[in-house]
């Protein structure tokens, strides 16, 4: 098994697994939002490591060294989009958490199901 050769992919999947754990097994709303943010970070890291070429430099021509091996630019462009969408999602989730706390008085998910305000 070439696990050592593909270590960056394993590390990004570890981040996703940590985020899944925080999302499934925690009861506080803020901890669940942190779990969602961890999942998004893991996926962004996985996207960036997909486009690496061995001994390559950044695909920028300003003051570049005289090599001919450059890293692929398309995964970096898609990761930019993904980071901004993660920002928008996290902002909306936190606003919902503020509204829920204002209405129910608690941030515990199991208690929110019981009180019918």
């Amino acid at each position: 098994m070439s696990a050592v050769g593909s270590l960056p992919f394993v590390v990004s999947m570890l981040l996703v697994i940590l985020g899944l754990y925080a999302l499934l097994f925690k009861r506080n709303l803020i901890k669940m939002v942190i779990g969602v943010s961890l999942i998004e970070t893991g996926v962004n890291l996985f996207l960036v490591t997909l486009g690496y070429r061995t001994a390559g430099v950044a695909p920028i021509y300003t003051y570049a060294p005289a090599t001919t091996v450059r890293v692929l630019p398309t995964p970096q462009a898609l990761t930019l989009t993904s980071i901004v969408i993660g920002l928008a999602t996290t902002a909306l989730l936190l606003s919902f958490a503020v509204l829920i706390y204002r209405h129910y008085g608690t941030l515990d998910v199991s208690k929110i199901k019981e009180l019918r305000g």
């Binding site: 394993v10 499934l24 021509y61």
Partner: protein, 91 residues
């Protein structure tokens, strides 16, 4: 009982993710790169830009940037709508 089922499902998904990540292509050899080779070779001729990533984001793949700007706008409008002060609150 529900807790045991949840733990089993989580362990199954974690094992699947780790196994899939370990069996991927070796790090540093992309599968196909014909489109990106065209971008790297011709971005200075078509777009006249030194930064190939910005050329990809705003020129070759500008439609995705339009969708992202729309998502950001929708999020800002949604948050402003949630924290609006109506007439009943001020009384």
């Amino acid at each position: 009982m529900r807790r045991a089922l949840l733990t089993a499902a989580f362990l199954l998904v974690a094992a699947f993710l780790l196994f899939a990540a370990a069996e991927m292509r070796p790090f540093g050899e992309p599968a196909v790169s014909a489109m990106d080779d065209y971008f790297i070779d011709n971005a200075q001729i078509d777009v006249a830009a030194n930064n190939v990533v910005t050329a990809v984001v705003f020129d070759y793949r500008g439609f995705d940037t339009l969708g992202e700007a729309t998502v950001l706008f929708a999020a800002v409008v949604g948050i402003l709508a949630m924290f609006r002060r109506t007439r009943e609150d001020e009384r």
